[in-house]
């Protein structure tokens, strides 16, 4: 889609030469997010610095019927910040201010481009932190976290992004600036804040976010338990939760991942184990100590090969180092991979692990696992060689089979990455036509013209189009109809 000259001039006039990227090589940076299977070059990239500028951008686009695609740091994994229909990409990387820190009321208001970790860095010395911690937190933006309702290892205890968002300012698809929620409790009306988190830019562009901050815990204890197999480690996970312990994080890595990490960053995890559990407990010191003993005992009862507890911060950092470097380390075992993000009820982990092994064998593909076991959120890296013909297709087939298996066990298609272009087609696995239609209509309220991040989140499906009528209850045959 070529932009009209008047749109280009309007945007240039609004943002100046420094606020607009027009050259093909400049725009190339913006053609995909971290999921490079989906590419789409925007016709122009704009970099506004204020809510008012964002609003004007949306109004210009709306008047010209041009798609608007928001983008934070571009670290998404779903084909969300990409412009398959062209149009205007709005990069929010110049809106990075902390607008207000209000520690007595345990909250902060920030601009969407602020990097997740920068917020914690700004308050950590005073004893506070921002809980959502996607693995990308060193580079991902809070606006992006809000768009995808991002999770992270510590969401097991603390909840995902939406549980920490108190208020939003958004420029909707109609070009209105709407402020919802805020630091005060219990506002009247629909919970628009909660409704908007996770909208992936399809309702509009978030321009300010008020988030809850939490006090740092008194103590943190990290333990590592190794097991002969993924299934045994999964059974230990279920036993820990069943014992009434919700660790801050409960991460699992399989042998393929352990090997890759040890090769990349030195021997941090025991060789020869089929799986390791990384267990982090935080909270009051006495609670953490009591729970750590209990968790260690449960792991031993469940045939752990070895259980070690980090004795100090350096050891703790080492245990986490492997986990945090996982995505990079995987380059040692594969040229390319697909990353699945489906969820199963956590009691079904042993079962899905058995199915995963079967799928991996059936397709003769290596699966490397590093995932949030505590909440049943899988993250297998399905490894393939993109130079070998047909291998990507096989990996995609294996990926779909695994996803179907998760849904069959009562799970969800995405735990924390979101839907984007990648999983839109999978939503009908989880939702009936009426459910999809409800979501479509909700989207239309915010974006009646269908210009806000089109092709993302909802599938191309009759229930997500105009004129669809879900089947209604059959009324008894009677006198009135």
């Amino acid at each position: 889609m070529a932009l009209s000259a008047s749109v280009v001039t309007g945007l240039q006039r609004l943002l100046g030469p420094g606020g607009v990227v027009l050259t093909p090589e400049g725009r190339l940076t913006y053609e995909s997010d971290m999921l490079t299977l989906y590419k789409g070059l925007p016709d122009i990239v704009v970099l506004p610095t204020s809510t008012a500028e964002v609003q004007t951008v949306v109004r210009i686009c709306r008047a010209a019927r041009v798609p608007v695609v928001p983008r934070g740091s571009g670290t998404g994994l779903i084909g969300g910040a990409t412009a398959p229909l062209g149009g205007v990409m709005v990069s929010l990387t110049r809106m990075t201010q902390i607008l207000e820190l209000d520690l007595v009321n345990r909250c902060a208001t920030v601009q969407p481009g602020l990097i997740n970790l920068w917020l914690t860095n700004a308050v950590r010395e005073r004893g506070w932190f921002f809980a959502p911690d996607p693995s990308s937190q060193m580079v991902s933006s809070i606006g992006g976290n809000v768009a995808t309702n991002a999770g992270g290892p510590h969401c097991l205890k603390y909840g995902i992004t939406t549980n920490h968002v108190l208020g939003l300012e958004i420029v909707t698809g109609t070009g209105e600036v709407v402020s919802v929620g805020g630091k005060a409790a219990d506002r009247p009306g629909y919970d628009l804040t909660g409704t908007m988190v996770g909208n992936e830019g399809t309702f509009g562009l978030v321009t300010a976010i008020t988030v809850r901050l939490l006090h740092l815990p008194e103590a943190v204890k990290t333990a590592l338990a190794s097991f002969a197999s993924l299934v045994e480690a999964s059974e230990a996970v279920s036993a820990i939760i069943a014992a009434g312990i919700i660790p801050a994080a409960l991460e699992m890595l399989d042998d393929a991942m352990i090997g890759a990490i040890n090769a990349a960053v030195g021997k941090v995890y025991p060789d020869g184990a089929g799986a390791v559990l990384l267990i982090e407990l935080d909270g009051p010191l006495a609670e953490v100590e009591a729970q750590a003993e209990r968790v260690a005992a449960i792991c031993r009862e469940r045939n752990a090969l070895m259980v070690t507890v980090a004795r100090d911060e350096a050891e703790r950092a080492l245990l986490w180092k492997g986990r945090k470097e996982a995505a990079g380390a995987v380059g040692r075992i594969t040229a390319a991979y697909l990353l699945q993000d489906a969820v199963v009820p956590r009691s079904k982990l042993p079962q899905i692990m058995r199915e995963m092994v079967a799928i991996s064998k059936r397709h003769n593909l290596l699966f490397a696992n590093v995932f949030h076991a505590g909440d049943g959120n899988l993250h297998p890296l399905i490894c393939y060689d993109d130079r070998k013909p047909g291998e990507l297709e096989r990996a995609q087939q294996a990926n779909e089979e695994l996803l179907h298996a998760c849904i069959a066990l009562g799970g969800s298609v995405s735990g924390e990455h979101g839907i984007g272009m990648d999983k839109a087609k999978n939503l009908p696995l989880q939702y009936a036509d009426a459910d999809l239609n409800f979501m479509f209509r909700l989207r239309r309220v915010f974006d009646p013209d269908g210009l806000m991040n089109p092709t993302k989140l909802l599938p191309s499906h009759p229930a997500c189009g105009e004129g669809f009528r879900p089947s209604r209850p059959t009324l008894p045959a009677g006198t009135w109809v």
Binding site: V104, N105, R106, N149, A150, G151, G159, T162, T172, E176, V178, S179, K183, A184, A185, D186, R187, P188, G189, Y190, D191, G194, T195, V197, N199, H215, L216, E218, I241, A242, G244, I245, G283, P284, L285, A286, E287, A290, V343, P345, R346, G376, G410, G415, I419, K423, Y431, A432, A434, D435, M439, R444, F446, P470, S471, R472, P473, P476, G478, W480
Partner: protein, 427 residues
């Protein structure tokens, strides 16, 4: 298509059977309904809503009836959906810490079911044991445990509801972590049944703490209490309740009266409770308060005092750093009112006796103006109809946000059959 009353009565009977449909019924906010029907299953409920939609009947779902005085008085009440029969615990998966229930199930029945598994749904609005979970969701009602666990919005994972035209619809997931599509459960929480009739809820559970202890800290002034709240929030103490009680609420609980008190509870393993007790005591003493250990029955007494209050209840949404101003404003504007609530979140309740519309209008406006300085508001959570006819029970909603809410309501209930007129802005 409009039909005769007799034909409509026959149609209702055909859906639920003669014994579950009657003309009239218990009044809702002073209005006697034309019909009351008690669906025996979600399909029946959906068919009732579909019929109401067809005939443009105003549908009012009714759970325990505890919150019928929330919102604008209903303009019309044609069909009350009696939800008490939809009370099943559908599926409890202890290993997943999730449960699915029908909307008419009470929090008390669920708590009894969960107790044997040492699990809990930590939602405790006043009178919670008798309240239906669908009602708690529709009214976003909360109690002291929100300090640690949040409110229904944080615990509702999935929801099945009948849309205005009766289409059964599901939103969310049955697992504890999911970002698949829009967060429809959040839209339904606190919507007062104006976007759909809630039928089934899937909820996140928490392990019941091994051990719990409660302390009551008395203070000479609200400023001392606020200092204590600030110090507790800025510490590693992990409270699960942190309530502020003024002298009148203390008296209603038959407790020794101080100007103001904080009720603090901690629930975890016993050694950690003991260790944190020392921190709590030190913080209270620094704020010149006195500490008294309370028995487990304290929270029942407190709940009874709030639930049993006979008068107007205001839900005040403020922030924890403004307790002094908020308490002061209530005392100055509504002499005789009692105040209690979640101090750590600034979510308070004011209990006002003998308030009629004339006496309450100006003070409420001023109170709303005071909390509006931090973006907060005051909702009339309970009060006589005559009062809510003359004073907006919700208070102002900023016009841009209200416009979005109106657009959502119009999209999903264009014929205005779901609890019409009772929500913000008359939605």
């Amino acid at each position: 298509m409009a039909v005769t009353a007799a034909a409509l009565g026959d149609a209702l009977r055909a859906i639920v059977g003669a014994e579950h449909r009657r003309e009239g019924g218990a009044p809702v906010d002073g209005v006697v309904p034309r019909w009351t029907a008690a669906p025996a299953g979600i399909e029946q409920a959906a068919a009732l809503v579909a019929l109401a939609h067809e005939e443009r009947l105003a549908v009012v779902p009714r759970g325990s009836g505890a919150a019928l005085e929330l919102g604008h008085p209903p303009a019309r009440v044609d069909l009350v959906l009696e939800m008490r029969g939809l009370d099943a615990v559908l599926e409890h998966s202890p290993a997943d810490l999730t449960v699915s229930v029908q909307a008419g199930c009470t929090a008390g029945v669920l708590a009894a079911h969960l107790a044997g598994h040492r699990q809990t749904l930590p939602l405790d609005p006043p009178g919670w044991t008798a309240r239906s979970l669908g009602g708690i969701a529709a009214t976003q009602a909360s109690g002291p445990l929100r300090q640690r666990y949040g409110t229904m919005r944080d615990l509702l994972l999935g929801v099945r509801f009948a849309q205005a035209d009766g289409v059964l619809t599901w939103g969310g997931a049955k697992v504890v972590k999911s970002v698949s599509g829009y967060d429809v459960p959040k839209l339904m929480v606190g919507a007062l049944g104006t976007l759909g009739v809630l039928l089934e809820l899937t909820l996140r559970l928490h392990p019941a703490p091994d051990y719990e202890a409660t302390w009551l800290a008395g203070f000479r002034t609200p400023a001392h209490a606020q200092e204590c709240v600030a110090a507790l929030l800025d510490s590693t103490v992990q409270t699960n309740r942190l309530e502020i009680l003024d002298g009148r609420v203390l008296a209603a609980c038959s407790l020794p009266v101080t100007a103001v008190a904080l009720a603090v509870s901690i629930g975890t393993v016993e050694p950690a409770v003991r260790a944190q007790e020392g921190l709590v005591r030190a913080i209270v003493q620094r704020a010149q308060g006195t500490v008294q250990t309370m028995g487990a029955s304290f929270w029942k007494t407190y709940d009874r005092a709030l639930a049993g209050f006979d008068g107007v209840v205001l839900r005040i949404g403020s922030v924890p750093a403004r307790l002094v101003e908020t308490l002061g404003a209530v005392q100055a504007l509504l002499p005789g009112a009692a105040v209690a609530g979640a101090a750590g979140l600034g979510a308070l309740r004011a209990l006002v006796t003998h308030a009629d519309a004339t006496a309450l209008r100006a003070p409420l406006e001023r109170l709303r103006a005071t909390v509006a300085e931090v973006g907060g508001g005051v909702i009339i959570e309970r009060g006589p109809r005559a009062l809510r006819e003359r004073i907006d029970p919700w208070g102002p909603v900023p016009p841009p946000a209200l416009a979005v809410m109106r657009a959502i309501k119009t999209e999903f209930d264009p014929r205005a059959v779901l609890n019409p007129g009772r929500f913000v802005g008359g939605l």
